[in-house]
Symmetry: C2
Subunit: 468 residues, 2 copies
Amino acid sequence: MSETEHPADAGVTEVSELDEDDRLKPEFVRAVLDAVEDGDVERARDLVEPLHPADIADLFELTGHEDRASLAHALSGLVDGDVFAEMNDYVREDLIDALEPQEVADLAAELDTDDAVAIIEDMDAADQREVLRAMEPDDRAAIEEALSYPEESAGRLMQRELIAVPEHWSVGDAIDYLRHNEDLTTDFWEIFVVDSRHKPVGTCQLSWILRTPRGIAIADVMKREQTLIPVDMDQEEVALRFQKYALISAAVTDASGRLVGMITVDDVVHIIQEEAGEDALLLSGAGDGDINEPIRDSYTARVRWLIANLGTALVAATIITMFEGTISKMVALAALMPIVAGVGGNAGTQTMAVTVRALATNQLTRSNTWRTIRREIAVAMMNGLTVAVVIGTAVGLFYANPLLGAVIATAMLGNIILAGLSGVVVPLTLERLKLDPAVASSIFVTMMTDSMGFLVFLGLASASGLVG
Amino acid sequence: MSETEHPADAGVTEVSELDEDDRLKPEFVRAVLDAVEDGDVERARDLVEPLHPADIADLFELTGHEDRASLAHALSGLVDGDVFAEMNDYVREDLIDALEPQEVADLAAELDTDDAVAIIEDMDAADQREVLRAMEPDDRAAIEEALSYPEESAGRLMQRELIAVPEHWSVGDAIDYLRHNEDLTTDFWEIFVVDSRHKPVGTCQLSWILRTPRGIAIADVMKREQTLIPVDMDQEEVALRFQKYALISAAVTDASGRLVGMITVDDVVHIIQEEAGEDALLLSGAGDGDINEPIRDSYTARVRWLIANLGTALVAATIITMFEGTISKMVALAALMPIVAGVGGNAGTQTMAVTVRALATNQLTRSNTWRTIRREIAVAMMNGLTVAVVIGTAVGLFYANPLLGAVIATAMLGNIILAGLSGVVVPLTLERLKLDPAVASSIFVTMMTDSMGFLVFLGLASASGLVG
């Protein structure tokens, strides 16, 4: 990668620990773990000290379950709240389990509400109570309130630390307020302007404040059209809004419209990535699909799906059984039938992946449903014709049996069109029923393309007088 | 959705145009298009005027290809550069094609470099030259320089409009500079501190500037550890850095380390979403998988994949053909063999989806490759045992043939373990060969699970003395 030639590419940590893709080098990870194993805590700490919190978090993720506790012990003090906030959920749970409630409380106290909540929300109820008891009353109240909102809602995601100023202030008032109040948060990108009932009336980017003379009223600088996030909004919806309106931060309001928190884009980026990336996992039935997930959880999630898949395969087998007489007269049919089912299944998966993605990104709505269905059928017909001609010709020639070629070509065309239709209609129907189209679509679509593939091919073979 | 109860949820545009998921209502889209069709331009403009640029862009995406030009004509003036910047690539190309070079040049001139480049980069060379000729020399030079960087690189993504200050300035100097220079950009979140050769030496959040007394040196406020983005870095890598280090903006440097531009998180969010979401599309061979893509392009991308799939299906068919003698003696085998192949294929897809995701997010590196392979084999063995017991018992009882049950159970166990192994090893190998694991993995894994499924099942049936 040519970027390594740049002296400027040193980035956050020194070049030697990170490879060209900004990942910790295996040699570095090995060196740290060797030092820990040898009891050379000093050396381990020297190695890890210069790392960015995100890289220390990665170090734990790259370390096996069995070595994490001793690594954490050796690095105590370096593994602060920021490191925990950056850590993979499963790895974090693993480590948190090894800590005393007081230690967890100390870590959480360093963090903004949203990061503290992320650490505490996955603990079991008894541990949670103990940690909360060990916290300062103020922090505790903030976290308890956050935990009172539903999981994966804006209320869990927001931080309560924000800057809100009254609408009658001038720019100068706001600057003085920021300068003279030591204990305000330092990480903010916009300030929120509120009315006397603490309802947001506008947002003001810091750059505008810096570019405006002190005497101007803040109400004349702020942007009045704002995207407000209701505190119970689902995090996926929050992520879509941030993306659509290119937000850096947004005000969170309670049921009565009062400002209760702020969400910043850096907390949303993880969600955008997770929500967009989970389609592939959900479509395959791999559950959370995290390589740090405990093996038992991965097994439970995946085997359930395989058993469901076994069910649809049995339906297909039953259809084949109905045609055992036909197959026994012409065994070549047995060799050819999986082709019709398999390629059809693949065509269905393509359409399904496209539809699920378009639904997830709000590109496919009621306004363009019919256009999209017509479009997918058109693509399916073109695909079906092409594949049918190829397979029909090949089979017809190979078996020197034009009728067999015609039968498999017709079955293939029919199955690919059916695959296209079900690949778009099944996810749309599930979405309309308020179910997640990524979760259940592929079972239905596969069942359709498998069963119908066998049925149409064997049915045509039988009806066309091809056999006996 | 309870969020609609909130008066505060009015968001960016008025409630009436958007549904509860923040998408334009079909009735609204219909009303605008009806007005355009009736020649009632006034009414169409009144309806669209209050919309956020992102929603105007959505309006075009939800409108069919055939109506877009007349819509654009009716809304001319309202469809500004911001709207184009928010628009889906295919829809934008569609519209840009309908405009005169001078109109495109005027649109591009309103925008930051990155957005202007996004509009111009997809035009064909002749149109691009014409548009560039119609631009102001300054804008033109900026765009031509951006276009000189590789597609999908940081150079294309960055804007040249940024704030850079010398390291010897005080906070007060920086504030005065911002206040007194009218033509500086207004959209920035951090300022970059540079040395005398214009190399970045630190970054300073605006909140720190606002919270610090004017007399303090900027060098004492800024953060020295910064994540610098080399101008030729691939956008996927840029997105991963923004995510890993929770960046709001980052300095882009050229080969000699000089500051040449800035990337802000709102431009990266789209990439994070696209890159994370494309796994499902690539794994299924659906290409770009955009519902706005021209039908011909969708056909070309998908049919190529289906033909490749047909090839792997033919390999499987050849294996079946080798066992035609066995099948003709026991036709039930023909009904059962797709079960072994199908469930195995599904298990392979699960492991593959997990592996591809872990590779894309830099969670799976050389440091934990072996641990991950061992993990996936363990999960595959547990899945395989479970499914084997279920199918073995069912088949043994249904056919009253314990040996048949044992054969299918053994084949299933073997195929699921093989699926798990290839599901993790194939993507890892492709990644090591610098190929995109999402693009090619599933062809190999499917071929493996299909062919081996048939081979192991029919081979065992034949070798076990089950038939004849």
